[in-house]
């Protein structure tokens, strides 16, 4: 059962990788990167249960937080053209 779920997640990740590679716009690639992060979390959790170590779930939470920070950095880059707060001060 868990193995089947794992394969399903891997297939989904493969499809998302195709979108990341072919994506006509950068936003497609960004969304694909975020989805691959989610897929990594799912693989982490499922693999933990598959090998009898469900404590991997804690690491999955940390992954989710890292994804969040990364997406924030990228979106801030889009909004302000820079990462620091000095762009807001200049305006």
């Amino acid at each position: 059962m868990i193995a089947a779920a794992l394969f399903a997640v891997l297939v989904a990740m493969a499809l998302v990788v195709v979108r990341a590679l072919r994506g006509p716009t950068t936003f497609d690639r960004l969304l694909a990167a975020n989805s691959i992060g989610n897929g990594a979390i799912l693989v982490l959790a499922l693999f933990g249960f598959l090998t009898g170590r469900p404590e991997f779930l804690d690491l999955g939470l940390t992954y989710a937080l890292l994804n969040y920070v990364g997406i924030f950095a990228v979106l801030k880059f889009f909004r302000h053209g820079s990462l620091g707060a000095e762009a807001e001060v200049e305006r």
Binding site: L6, L21, A33, A40, F47, Y63, L66, G70, A73, F77
Partner: protein
């Protein structure tokens, strides 16, 4: 069996992403694809049972490196400059490096084998640490005592890299964005 299948699937995705990174023209897309590569690599490390390495890969490769690359893009430009030199020499260099790595790979012990040197030598650090160094934490004693010169070298490298980045960024900021 399941692990082998997952590993092969992830390696195929990694190869596809690598080709994509080389072929893509926009530098922003390349940064995003590098993040994708790191996330896939972290998943591979999880399947190989190295959860701590996977954590580092996700934090440094997908998290901090992306932010640094974006900062570099802000200071420079998001369009790749056309290369004026030929492509033969880089290709040759990459092939030679890859050949050397594959050649070195053939000397490694089999994956998961109990005959690996790590299981036969140095495994008595736990018993040796306190009488020899007096440090109660074994990880600290290995890092700071048994491998102290190695650690000193690492610290020097990180320090030099930090100085280099500071020097680069300071000069750029004075000139402004061009």
């Amino acid at each position: 069996m399941i692990e082998t299948t997952i590993t092969i699937a992830l390696l195929l995705m990694l190869a596809a992403v690598t080709v994509g990174i080389v072929r893509v023209r926009g530098l922003f897309a390349a940064v995003v694809l590098l993040g994708v590569y790191s996330l896939l690599m972290a998943t591979l490390f999880i399947v190989l049972d190295a959860v701590d390495v996977a954590m580092t890969e996700a934090a440094v490769g997908a998290g901090v490196s992306t932010v640094f690359f974006l900062g570099a893009l802000y200071l420079t430009d998001t369009v790749e400059a056309p290369s004026s030199r030929g492509r033969f020499l880089p290709l040759l260099l990459a092939l030679v490096t890859a050949g050397a790595l594959v050649w070195g790979l053939s000397d490694l012990p089999e994956f998961g084998s109990p005959e690996q040197p790590i299981h036969k030598q140095g495994a008595d650090y736990l018993a040796r640490s306190i009488p020899e160094t007096g440090i109660p934490n074994v990880v600290t004693s290995v890092l700071a005592s048994y491998r102290s010169f190695d650690t000193l070298g690492e610290t020097t490298v990180v320090f030099t890299a930090g100085i280099g980045i500071l020097a680069l960024l300071r000069r750029r900021r004075g000139e402004g964005r061009n």
